[in-house]
Symmetry: C2
Subunit: 387 residues, 2 copies
């Protein structure tokens, strides 16, 4: 039964489907919208293997292929799906010269470098199934006249919920207790001596975009002292409703916080911004949650601060690079509550971003504009948050 | 340094302190309030050992002794503190014949049976440092004219926060991802196939007392469908503010819920009420959170349902018995997110219940009434929630 479902979903279909022989029309000028005729669309997702068959709504994997294969193929398009994305011998690399559309996810990012863009003569559209397009060289994409779009809003609730979970796991010191259970132990003191309530603590978010605001809204009934740092102050009514206080200067906010949540996109300016010096500005024993991007942090500085106790706990689902290698120091540092990159790819999130990808492909085929908030690069210009 | 702090806090002081030689006045009639003179007070807490020295606010352990030793001894009372509570050879048992006050916690319960009550000729007052007095034979205590009181409200926020954490851990499938990290693995699919958002799910609480209500308030911004079962419907204004719908019949509510939270006290009526038949009434794959009492559940029925998949995940910090033996089936059942009994003994919670115990002892010495909501047994009568 399980094997049958895997077979039905299998990516192998991509390479044997009837439409795979249709040749796409050459398109050397990179129009923002589709030229008529068949398109070659490549999707890069993580492989689910034995897990693919366990949930019919598991569309975000190679096997699920966003649930759009029949729809694409019925319109004469070619749809290649793979998880093999790294290096010159990868499946993705083979299709770079003639693909029109590349779909990828932040959970298993297909890195789109300037070199790949140069090589991709037919490429018109880069879609992120989810949110976060920093795996794409956006300046190169803009210079090449490509359109880059993501499904804005598709995972904001997922990530905000996940952040609140991680805050609670760290503050309440959940993991040492769970490890006791599976190790046959019982030592309440070994948990309690550093377990706290969230109530009354100061929580600061670096970035109060959609995810940061959803987090703050969910934090409100916990009766914390809520702070946010962003480029702009919220309008007073919203700020009052959310109940958070604006901190114009990041380094002034940091020492006030018991808990810091990173909710800022990865850009050239923010890469590695949370380094040894920033960590030193935090309260001793600060708890940090980062579901934004691993490369915002100085990896080794975080590991060192967890060892010294300057950071009292670190949790997140983002790493640099991804997948995290076996020897990534965050796997082994004390008081970490890490997971692989998962927060935005819940089943609910997958269904939302699969629907968003389908909608944008449909608009692309019809030559229609996308929802404006989805554009990351349009007509050679980067969206403001990526500048 | 660590050793020094442990020594300063050490329980050994209890047996060598100057006041330990003072003999309490005989008190064979069990007055509800203190007779003049020195009292023998016994506290039963968990031992912290090496953890005692790591946090000056860690007052809930044997070593911390609720932080009331100096205060008690300065008034001429004798204060014995121990973690040794089981059997006829235990330290607690030695003091049963002449103690006046017994303080215990739900985290390391001193079981006060009818036999012990019979033997405790001087006993007047049983205090629970925290909430939950089911380790005491309340009917026997009432018949003997004892006063039983707890620090109502001292841990309600702690437990409600902890419940929300556990809901998120189960719904979002946190633990398999964390285990991947520490095992050097990376398999997003192995997490994602059964990870969901909390948003949009139906959450039902069995019991909507203080903890249940605080949980519902914290759940509100998650945009769930909230249900509650209790003996009484909330008043309409409160119900509307909390945003939960009353379910008069438990067995009608169960099949509606994606997530069930148990928030009902353990009584003769509720013991084992969540048995095989009740579990069968739930939605397949239901997630259950129980921070109330382990004995509310049929232990083996829960383990069997986790194995069969009828229960999709079970999390809680309460077991029967406590400490959970090494072979307790909940340690080894699939999809459990268990910890030892911890949710109400955060550092914040400890400071609140230590202050509550001190306040009630002070009132007891002065012959004053306690805050009315704290009484569990008063003048031979049980509080309504324990009837």
């Amino acid at each position: 039964m399980a094997m049958k479902r895997v077979a039905a979903f299998s990516a192998i279909r991509a390479f044997t489907s009837p439409s795979s022989s249709s040749v796409s029309s050459p398109n050397l000028t990179r129009h923002l919208h589709a030229s008529p005729g068949s398109k070659k669309i490549v999707g890069v997702f993580y492989k689910a293997n034995e897990y693919a068959a366990l949930n019919p709504n598991f569309v975000g994997c190679v096997e699920g292929a966003l649930g759009i294969r029949d729809w694409l193929e019925s319109q004469g398009h070619q749809y290649i799906v793979t998880d093999d994305k790294e290096g010159l011998d990868s499946e993705l690399e083979k299709h770079i010269p003639d693909l029109h559309v590349l779909i990828s996810t932040p959970f298993h990012p297909a890195y789109v470098t300037a070199e790949r863009i140069k090589k991709a003569k037919n490429l018109q559209l880069l879609l992120t199934a989810g949110i976060g397009s920093d795996h794409i060289d956006l300046n190169a994409a803009a210079a090449a006249g490509l359109t880059v779009a993501e499904i804005t809003g598709s995972n904001v609730v997922s990530v905000a919920e996940d952040e609140l979970m991680r805050i609670l796991i760290l503050v309440r010191n959940f993991l040492p207790g769970h490890h006791q259970v599976i190790n046959g132990e019982w030592n309440v003191a070994g948990i309690a001596y550093r377990a706290y309530d969230l109530e009354g603590k100061t929580v600061g978010t670096i970035g109060a975009g959609r995810i940061g605001r959803l987090l703050l809204q969910r934090l409100k009934p916990f009766n914390c002292n809520l702070l946010y740092h962003d480029r702009l102050k919220m309008d007073p009514e919203l700020e009052n409703q959310i109940g958070a206080k604006f901190e114009e200067d990041l380094d002034t906010m940091l020492p006030k916080c018991d808990i810091i949540v990173v909710n800022t996109p990865l850009t050239d300016k923010t890469r590695g911004f949370f380094d040894k010096n920033r960590i030193a500005k935090c309260k001793k024993g600060v708890l940090i949650v980062n579901n934004a991007r691993g490369a915002l942090m100085d990896t080794q500085a975080v590991a060192d601060a967890c060892s010294s106790g300057q950071i009292g706990g670190y949790s997140g689902d983002v790493w640099y690079p991804q997948p995290a290698p076996k020897d990534h120091p965050w796997r082994y540092m004390p008081n970490q509550a890490m997971t692989p990159h998962i927060s935005g790819t819940t089943i609910d999130g997958q269904l939302r971003y699969a629907a968003g990808v389908k909608d944008m492909l449909d608009r692309y085929f019809k030559g229609e504009d996308f929802p404006p908030q989805n554009y990351i690069v349009k007509e050679g210009k980067l969206a403001s948050q990526y500048k």
